[in-house]
Symmetry: D2
Subunit: 186 residues, 4 copies
């Protein structure tokens, strides 16, 4: 059963990390976390999910949003062992940390089971307080994902209310962009 949105996300169970050593959800408290669950031999993950995860990483400030990959292998286990994943991450130039979901005897890995994922690609969004807030299976348009992440970014310290009620959004800022603080707003 899928984990309900609004509930605290249980920690993952990862047997090995690439691009990072031993990352716990609690370490990321205060930041929005986007978790891209994928399999290296899943066509939709390669064509859509992983490129979108990379764009999320490139769009939002690292102080606000952390992007993580989770390799949730539930089929073709022998073909997607960690050493193969390592080659895949190298060839596809994945630049965010990727954890290998802990295998279980039943075939569905441990974190996938805990989170109630239906398959890959799945995108989970976790708020600054560690609660699951969105759970997508399959392709989701960038416009919508951008909106959802920004809404979560805006819930935390990234939004400041100034005297006149104007706020400065925390994410996705650039010169001439939406941030009115730099431009004379307020």
């Amino acid at each position: 059963m899928a984990l309900q949105t609004g509930q605290p996300l249980p920690d993952w169970s990862v047997e090995r990390w690439f691009g990072h050593a031993g990352l716990q959800l609690a370490d990321l408290r205060g930041r929005v976390v986007a978790i891209e669950a994928f399999q290296m031999l899943c066509p939709g993950c390669v064509s859509h999910g992983l490129p979108q995860a990379q764009r999320i990483r490139d769009t939002f400030a690292a102080d606000d949003v952390v992007v993580l990959g989770l390799h949730t292998v539930f089929e073709h286990h022998a073909a997607m062992q960690p050493h193969a994943l390592e080659a895949f991450l190298h060839e596809y130039r994945i630049r965010f940390p990727v954890g290998v979901d802990s295998p279980s005897a039943e075939g569905t890995p441990e974190t996938m089971r805990r989170y109630g994922l239906r398959g890959t690609p799945s995108l989970l969004l976790v708020d600054r307080a560690g609660r699951l807030r969105a759970h997508h299976f399959g392709a989701v348009p960038d416009l919508r994902v951008g909106a959802e992440i920004a809404a979560l970014v805006g819930e935390g310290g990234g939004v400041e209310v100034t005297d006149d009620g104007a706020r400065e959004p925390g994410g996705a800022r650039e010169p001439g962009g939406i941030g009115c603080g730099l431009e004379g707003c307020g």
Copy 2:
């Protein structure tokens, strides 16, 4: 000179509307407004700007975000008269209101001059209080535009702070989506 972000957006000067009769910026107070300035014979508008504007309209709730087109003809005037625009809007199935920027003797139409637009496509984002908050010229990725609009949506009545500090984002919601109110959050 481009209008500074953070300042109130002056009203437009439109000689004719398609898809709406006589729309004023003041009528939209309380909602975020996305203005897509385009020319019907501008390739970047046809391939990028207008499809993105349509996606914005399809992604956000109409109560939160209004999408408008502004036909700012600054070249090839004879080829882009309102009767030709009407055929264009029909063929390209543009489903949001489009205003024809009032021509001026100098060639640059009136609203384009007021807003200090550099060319087409340009995307302006106006907050719920009527202030210009983002001004883009050229192609902008969907992920970023989605984030910027959501940040503005979150500034207004669309965000409710509940007892425990959780908020319910106002835009881009769906069952199982980011809205924790429906899902038991808070």
Copy 3:
């Protein structure tokens, strides 16, 4: 009724040329002719037909294949007059000659009627002897169009049979490409 393939293509009736002065089909005898019939406000022409016509022009040798546009306006006549087409061709950087199909009282222009075109975009392929050999309505994949044109190119002087029976295809050649003449074949 559509003109039968295999029959000589009647000459077009063009009221004005852009990019060329007064071109007749008979002038092109000995070369394959690709005719892209389009309307400037037809979305499928802008997104598919015209870019493909440009790629045809860029792929094949001009001695073998001539690409022509034919502006066959059968709707929104006032919006697609020759002066508007001229602006369109400039903005979209169309680099092959485009003829304006002669208007008729009935609305369907003269050449469109002669050729029995169903609409736009339509792609006609004419062989070196002036016969219509392919007639496509709508989007056709590049792989297939490339194959069809090459088959017609191969029918003429572009193919030389050498002593051992090897032939040198006339079109789409490049160093290291398919032409075995340059590479030691035969």
Copy 4:
């Protein structure tokens, strides 16, 4: 050193076939052969080379053109063993035969060395007489590949010269297409 075009293609050395049992080049004499050399973890192969090979197979008649994949692993050998390739072919729905190039002690597999391939994706076109006629490394546009294959198809029995000199191209035919035989040509 790359094999010269125009020369007979040496037979491949394949340790295992998927989708076919024991295929030799000599078996295909009389047909054009398109060989797509790839690695399952090569991004350009996944995004461009393999989909193009599939389109080639879907466009040309099987009597004229045979499409084969060749898995030429020259890096990350442990991650791209035949059992992993089998899962890959299943997930990506590759419907043409794929041979596993025989490994060698040096790392570059045997057929890759014989053919002088520079890397993956590489596309080789072999004529009806078994000679290599085109050798591409990297992405090649569909229009050009279609033209090259059709030129080779036209060299063989697929082209018939009728009394009046008209020929019927052998490949990529469809009702209303380029084949003038069916349409009354000649």
